[in-house]
């Protein structure tokens, strides 16, 4: 085998320019795929992180039917005390969960005494909210999220700008409860809250106890439970452990709760899926490049070496050894291209990180991409390229092995 490699390697050196051209084609292909994967992976991770860590959490639990009508924030689909107890019992036993928080959401009228508009209000427990959504604080301007006091409000940035609302100003919120009773309360503006990508442009935050007061609830009700996992890659395992929740039935024998992952809740997940499909397409393009270039080179090297093949065959080299010689040659082309391509990819990713490429997404701008080359991705791409090189060499190698020595020796 050592000698097969030696001869194949020298044959590659013999047609040096062609070898360099073909390898560099593979190199460039591998590099594009890896750099693209690193960039899109960084973009995905960034966006997913933004969405889950500042707004959605990883998993949400609602009363059955809430998500379908989430746009009108229905108060009649809240979870009551008994139901909350059932949920917390199961959540506390789930080892994948880091923390969870309750939200009580409602639609209300928002007024600065001059004009009024509608607003979506999230009643939150500030301590638990910041624990479950670590990026929540970063969205808030002018206040510390965890110390959101009762009687104060975080106003959505859009509203604050449009209605010229300043910190420490006073506004009034008017809401109707499910019995039709209207109530209004004054709130002090504690700060503004930025939107994240996706829904939430008109989301304001107040303390959950204030919502209770505003709606004149006798006891606490909750619209959604937001869960943060220790590791988001265990999403499916964690979901499995939530299974008992879906088994609870109401009086009509219908499921009582619904459990959704962030993927089901965020439209961004479709973008992630599209990015994944593009990842695959770009890999297919790479495979074609490798297949065609190696096939082409190997067919050429068989044709220009017919007499040589005839000579070694006449001397007694078996067809299987001749096959191995050409397979090794194609394989080596693929391996060289992959190794150089991978090294260059690391270099390019390093340079991108040094320069710092920024991008805008939705209303957010100045986000810096920090691509990371995943070693698994490098391995997968390398294995694909090497296998394809081998496959591309099979047909020319077999052709060489099948040559009749008498005919081959007659060639010039």
């Amino acid at each position: 085998m050592k000698n097969i490699i030696k001869i194949s390697f020298r044959n590659l050196l013999r047609s040096g320019r062609r070898t360099v051209l073909t390898s560099s084609l593979i190199t460039i292909g591998v590099m594009f795929v890896l750099v693209y994967a690193a960039l899109s992976g960084s973009f995905k991770a960034y966006m997913v992180g933004q969405i889950t860590d500042s707004m959605l959490g990883h998993i949400q639990i609602h009363k059955k039917g809430y998500v379908a009508s989430i746009d009108n924030l229905p108060l009649d689909k809240n979870l009551n005390k008994k139901q909350i107890e059932k949920i917390t019992g199961i959540l506390d036993a789930n080892p994948y969960i880091e923390s969870y928080t309750f939200r009580l959401k409602l639609g209300a009228m928002f007024s600065n005494y001059v004009s009024s508009t509608s607003v979506r209000l999230n009643g939150i427990d500030p301590k638990r909210e910041t624990q479950t959504l670590p990026l929540f604080s970063s969205r808030i301007d002018g206040s510390d999220a965890s110390s959101l006091q009762e009687g104060s409000i975080l106003v959505p940035e859009l509203l604050a700008k449009g209605m010229d609302i300043k910190k420490d100003g006073t506004i009034v919120l008017v809401a109707t409860n499910q019995k039709g009773s209207v109530n209004g309360l004054n709130f002090k503006v504690a700060g503004t809250v930025e939107t994240v990508s996706g829904p939430g442009g008109r989301d304001g935050y107040i303390h959950i106890n204030d919502v209770k007061k505003l709606l004149r609830f006798k006891e606490l009700e909750v619209s959604e439970v937001v869960i943060r996992l220790k590791d988001v890659s265990h999403l499916q395992k964690a979901m499995k452990m939530m299974k008992p929740l879906t088994l609870f039935k109401n009086q009509k024998d219908k499921p009582m709760f619904e459990v959704h992952t962030w993927e089901q809740l965020s439209p961004f997940y479709n973008i992630v899926k599209m990015l994944n499909i593009m990842d695959i397409s770009i890999k297919i393009i790479l495979i074609s490049i490798v297949l065609i270039s190696i096939l082409n080179v190997m067919v050429m090297s068989v044709y220009e070496r017919i007499k040589e093949i005839g000579t070694i065959a006449a001397m007694g080299t078996t067809p299987s050894t001749i096959t191995k010689l050409f397979l090794t040659e194609g394989l080596m082309l693929g391996i060289f291209g992959t190794i150089i391509g991978s090294i260059l990819s690391y270099a390019v990713v390093f340079i991108i990180n040094m320069i710092g490429i920024t991008f805008s997404f939705g209303r957010q701008s100045g986000l810096t991409l920090n691509p990371v080359l995943n070693i698994n991705e490098v391995l997968i791409v390398s294995v694909i390229v090497i296998i394809i090189s081998l496959i591309a060499s099979i047909s020319p190698a077999r052709k060489a092995a099948k040559l009749n020595p008498v005919d081959a020796l007659r060639q010039n």
Binding site: N3, I4, I7, R10, N11, L13, R14, K307, E308, G310, T311, I312, A313, A314, M315, G316, T317, T318, P319, S320, T321, N404, P405, V406, L409
Partner: protein, 228 residues
């Protein structure tokens, strides 16, 4: 010892069957220095290819030292050639990517798989025999035609073959070099008692041969032994 019985070779040229060798019966003993002569297209090369196990006859039997080579499949035939037969070609056919030493080593590694020390010993001896010791690290394109043919002879002999076939080995060489090569082969034949079979036009080879077989139109017309 090679024996041919009723060997016929037919090539298909489109619709037409072309009989190149007709009912060849031939027996060549160990250590003979045989020249096969005849006009171009007479079938000399075909006979050489058939005897050298590169080609299979359409009919008839070729037996080399009790092995009926017409019964072997491609791989077995390749192995048989690797063990028993050496070839010397008109245009030398050295492997361009291997050095002189590596060219001679090739059949020992790729075909016979001999251990390193034994290989080295044999190669050095043969390099000395063909007077190419000082050129052993050069590559074929750095050598003259005569030097290349010496390397090719060493390569053909390194496996200790019973028979060496040479198809026009001197056709690409000048007269002086041809004579040196022929003398070299003659010496080696006497030293190793190897059978040499040539297809040739070269008068010098013909005068050196123990036996001259003339073929015309695929039929042996003359077979004479020359007492040395």
């Amino acid at each position: 010892m090679i024996t041919n019985e009723h060997v016929t070779k037919v090539y298909k040229m489109g619709e037409v069957d072309l009989t190149v060798i007709k009912d060849l019966n031939l027996s060549i003993g160990h250590g003979e220095f045989v020249a096969i002569v005849g006009p171009s297209g007479s079938g000399k090369s075909t006979v050489l290819n058939l005897l050298g196990c590169l080609d299979k006859p359409t009919e008839g039997k070729i037996v080399i030292d009790e092995t009926d080579v017409t019964q072997l499949d491609t791989t077995a035939l390749a192995n048989f050639r690797g063990e028993n037969i050496g070839f010397i070609f008109q245009s030398f056919n050295l492997i361009p990517v291997l050095s002189v030493y590596e060219n001679i080593e090739y059949p020992l590694i790729m075909i016979q798989n001999l251990p390193q020390e034994e290989r080295h010993e044999r190669i050095m001896k043969l390099l000395d025999d063909v007077d190419m010791l000082d050129q052993k690290d050069k590559f074929p394109d750095q050598l003259s035609g005569g030097q290349r043919q010496r390397v090719a002879i060493a390569r053909a002999l390194v496996t200790n073959p019973k028979i060496v076939f040479a198809d026009e080995p001197t056709a690409n060489l000048d007269t002086k070099t041809s004579n040196q090569i022929i003398t070299l082969m003659r010496n080696i034949q006497q030293e190793f008692n190897t059978t040499f079979i040539f297809a040739t036009h070269d008068e010098k080879i013909v005068t050196e041969a123990d036996r001259i077989i003339t073929i015309v139109d695929g039929v042996i017309t003359d077979d004479k032994r020359i007492a040395s």
